[in-house]
Assembly symmetry: D2
Homo-oligomer: 414 residues x 4
């Protein structure tokens, strides 16, 4: 059975009947409760003395939208097949995620931002009752936020064996030492818990050397060195933090699933995480295409609207074609996860992870070009969309590693 076997019955990509009301409700929620607060929210950020805090009014706005979501029963629908969640399939979620990608606040207003969704899913599946009580519960309530701590500055972390941060059992505690960077959200004052990838068993076989362990924030040994930039942006107050673990002690009960099972947890989390990013990216590419057409129609030069000049209309056409192709591929990868399970579907996940951010970057870049200098300014969301999606070409594995996965799967079929 090959991974592209048509007999696998993975081509019904229609949203389920049951999910349609939720999909419509989410769109209504964004339109009614998120879009109206977005400009004020970001304008407030400009007024802060300390950029690494929130303005009280920002939190008020956000909590208002979150409460609306709770009231409408739109809270935590991301959790698949679980008591706490809606039991959405990945396929149904894909449709919704594309809508979330169009708004910078929509995900948080519905408690389904990265990396919280992945962290909650991990805790839900492998957490102990005590871990769930202490961390999953407030996360599910939207009271705290969390971080996922994997990437290291001094090794090629695309190869998981390279993880160099260590956790050593000392009495009843693990003692963690090492350096991590690009830890998104760890600057957020509401971030209270981190899942940290560490090396516990350097002499075990490659896939059993790593563990994942819970570290609360703030913590005396966790030194937050400063924010990493994304093309000059630090995304305060959430940030992408550079941090050092200096003899960080946590009780051995903070270990997730069991020592040496870090890779296993990654398998669990990365499939959905990667695909949620790609789903949201479809929404971002849609925004870019929309702006491209609007700008092209509204500006004139050389006696014609910009969109009718040179290759612009063909650029629009190619963007539309690529967006539709990406959308179908993301839906198919989601369906594959539903039908085959995360592990068997991983070639499909790698296909969309290698495809979508690269093509979306090109589309956003073309939208920038048609805007002239305004395209890279703060007057459109395009520069921010570009740098976000460009970042995604390394996050959760660079394009090259995903192409390697797909290429090898292809080889094995012969």
């Amino acid at each position: 059975m090959s991974f592209v076997d048509p007999s696998l019955k993975m081509n019904d990509l229609e949203m389920s009947e049951g999910a349609i009301p939720l999909f419509e409700a989410v769109k209504a929620h964004i339109r009614d409760h998120v879009d109206p607060i977005t400009d004020e929210y970001f304008a407030l950020a400009e007024t802060l003395e300390d950029r690494w805090t929130f303005h009280p009014r920002q939190l008020e706005l956000l909590e208002g939208a979150k409460n609306k979501a709770k009231e409408s029963g739109l809270w935590n629908f991301f959790l698949p097949d679980s008591e706490s969640g809606e039991g959405l399939t990945n396929l149904d979620y894909a449709y919704i995620a594309a809508e979330l990608g169009k708004s910078p606040l929509a995900s948080e207003s519905l408690n389904c931002s990265a990396p919280d969704t992945g962290n909650m899913e991990v805790l839900e599946r492998v957490g102990t009752p005590a871990q769930k009580e202490q961390w999953l519960k407030p996360l599910l309530n939207g009271e705290i936020r969390s971080a996922y701590v994997m990437t290291e500055p001094h090794v090629a972390s695309s190869d998981a064996k390279n993880v160099s941060t260590t956790a050593v059992l000392d009495g009843d505690d693990y003692v963690i030492n090492g350096e991590k960077y690009y830890i998104s959200g760890a600057g957020d004052p509401r971030c209270k818990i981190m899942i940290v990838m560490v090396k516990t068993d350097p002499d075990a076989e490659p896939h059993k050397q790593q563990s994942q362990i819970l570290v609360p924030l703030p913590h005396p040994g966790v030194e937050i060195i400063g924010p990493m930039h994304v093309f000059g942006e630090d995304h305060a107050p959430r940030g992408h933090m550079h941090m050092r673990f200096n003899n960080v002690r946590v009780p051995k009960e903070n270990m997730l699933l069991g020592q040496g099972r870090g890779f296993e947890i990654s398998q669990l989390r990365l499939g959905p995480g990667r695909i949620h990013h790609c789903m949201r990216t479809i929404g971002k590419a849609e925004i870019a295409l929309d702006l491209m057409v609007k700008r092209g129609k509204s500006r004139e030069a050389f006696g014609n609207s910009l969109i009718m000049l040179g290759k612009n209309l063909e650029t629009v056409s190619r963007a539309r074609i690529e967006i539709e192709a990406m959308r179908l591929m993301v839906l198919k990868a989601a369906k594959a996860m539903d039908v085959l399970g995360n592990k068997e579907a991983r070639v499909w996940v790698s296909m969309v992870k290698a495809m979508v951010p690269e093509k979306a970057c090109q589309i956003i870049d073309q939208a920038i070009q048609i805007h002239g200098a305004t395209g890279i300014s703060q007057w459109t969301p395009l520069a921010e969309l570009y740098t976000d999606v460009r970042h995604l070409r390394f996050a959760d594995g660079p394009d090259e590693v995903h192409h390697m996965v797909v290429g090898r799967a292809e080889m094995k079929q012969h």
Copy 2:
């Protein structure tokens, strides 16, 4: 309602349950009755003194396969929604057509080669009883073949208004004058009927100037000047003929549908025709990827298999991703035709017509490159696949015109 409105319910791309037995039977037919005769068939072509004929044994082989298809009830399944056909949806047909694209003789063995399918569909829908009796019947029986005569050498025929071949009513006859080229299949001694695009009403509004008319072959006024080449190949004996109409007289009953309704007939035919080509092209790209991987695994250089050198494995991955994306887009365009009808679905048809041949050319070209000189030789099908698909980037409208259709549809949504 926009053409990409998700509420259109066009994302169930699964083959229907009812079509699966047919799909399996077609694959079995190709495996059992077509693949075994293919090498002998083409070897015989090399032995002919007159390349513009068939070897009797070639026809014997072909008729054998055709008879097997008839016996198995696999004959004429291409005709959608008709008494004579299987009533296949475009979506179901798409799955089958991708299989047909992998074999150079499969389509003909099942009586679903271009341009016969398009011609039969036109006759079925708009032919008079007499036209059906005289031409559709032998076509449906696989006794004769046909040609579709549109492209002209001296004008940009991507703009239909440019057609310059004229048909003038003179008594009870139309008299046709003009020049046409790249008339595929018109060299085939079995080709007995042509549908010819002519200008009848130069003063009417643009879309009512053209007509389509039946011209039998051979005909005293139809001068076949010679074969046009496709990258040096003339594809004898079917050929892509250059022909002149010198006062060709045909009875006025040969007019299809009515004078001035040529454009209307084109709308009817081009959707399915274009999409069938794209469907078969998916199959061709699969063949190319298959050969790429086989070659890459079997050859060694610099101490490694070719496929593990440089960018080759990424090239394989990108080819797989693009093929799956193209496949889903073709299935979606087919579904759009089923759901919306040919006219409303035309943006989807243009999307795949602009996307598929271009990307498939790239994949075949990369398969060529990994084969070295063997890739452009007669030892693999790659050169032939390349030139076929390259040709498709003009046939039924060049890429540029389809991008224009898509770009304009996008503009209209704003």
Copy 3:
């Protein structure tokens, strides 16, 4: 005579013997006096309370390097064919500019930063004695800085006819009204003079409607609204300012060359300005390639150095090939300006302006990719190089306009 006529004798692209000592002296100056202060200079910027000022120590460092340049006779060598300058050919300057592009402070240390060079050249050529005394002299001395004010936010300024800022003669003053943006350097407290593109003669023929006029800074009517961003960066304290001219009065003597002659001045300035940018961009692409190779060699994954994985080595090769091709094209465009004059050489200038920033962006982007997240961080210059060069794809005319110039010139040759 066509613009690519080989008989034009424009292929001797060697640096002149006479310029070699200067070229070597500039490299030594950068190595000895600029590189050693660069880290401290930028670290100081991080310590400022008001980001729109300089730290006194920053200016001290910079003035130190400037004085070294003056002492070594390396001051103002950019001015071609003039009393004040070295009389460097564009070709010789091209070699030097590529070196300048490798360091963020080198140009300023030698008084040859944009837009000052262009402004000084304009004043040198068309300024009145009084204008020269008041503005050119302190600019040549490096005592003040300047801005060039062309782009407008509400029109497609790639079409010069669209300029909407007006200057109207009222008594002995011009009164200026309008809005401009992306005015680079206008945030710098040392910026004391601006050359402003205005419309003075809306009823004249298209190329005689514009004028260029001197406006000193600060000025009561010049409202600096705020900084425009470049992918989230505001480049304080120099900035890319958004400004409004509210009944700005300047004496009519501030008009340059004469009312209605703004286009003429543009012709004079844009050739060299555009090509200087491209020259410096070659240096930036070299930096990116250098970092790409260093990173590729120093990081390991999957049992090999990164550079030996997948397509990386081919990416390096393609970058080297493109850099050498760009370098030769820039040298040729410079030579064309020397041989043919700015006006006749403008097709060559458009060729490199359309070619170099686009290809350099790709090279920098690939260098980013091989660095993983570090590539978009503040730890390498790559993100800054990328956004600078990306910006250049609109500045001084977007790629599309330059391709139009080249395409039309090609058409005219037939």
Copy 4:
């Protein structure tokens, strides 16, 4: 010293004064003596019963042009630094070769076709007096033609170590066994001598295993199996032959330079050979661009000339830019060979060999697209240009191997 060191003084790319009269004379010769016979020559080929012969009138035309060249002193100017040749530098030759590339008969009319030039150069440099008398003399006189026999069908010959055809000394003869293919020109009845790459010393170190040996044609043991195709073309009567060496005996005096020195000879020949191909390819790209513009200006659709529609004018611009960049790179590689010698210049040769055929293919492909079906027909030279240049992407080493050479040279500089 790095290979891109600017101090190498390799940027004077002007044709030498002394070569200008020759350059002009060659252009006049093509215009006056080659262009006028070209159509008749190829029309005659269509009339032949046996396509693997020449029509007597074809040879008469060709000999006429050759005699004109001899009379004008334009014969054998390709040979650098030799008694028999003009002593042209590679740089000067590059200008001429670009002109030769524009005409399919020009090279032969001047006795500088591939592979004869390479073979003559090898014989001139390493041939014994007897070898020169017997083979070089008639080649220099244009009385016979020759072949170069390297590529093998069953191994990846991009890695020279893979050569599997053997030559074993047996008494005073070498006995050769093996299979070769794509031996260009070996079908020509005038082809009387071949230089054959063989393995003589399988146990020696990798670069001393191969030898090159002379084999006359016809020869009883040389079995010419048939012509290999290039995209369906067999290029009769010269052909690209598939041949088998069945115990082919040649006297040991036929060995060139000495057993085990085959690689050394390759180094000698491949530099110039590769670069001559690239030079001629510039001429071919010029032809394609010329046709692209002519077609674009002369055809109309949708109310405008084709060239003004969509991206066509930008395509023209990009083609012009790439052609000029390629031209300068080829001139620079030629200059590098003149300044550094073939061996030191090999990175430059690999740069242009990897760059030029790939980009020229794209330009020709775009010229095809603007022609519609005529672009792949026998009515323009475009299809033939495309397949020739596509073939060049493997001949003398595939692109990938040249990128490896360039990438490794870049790595060594750090």
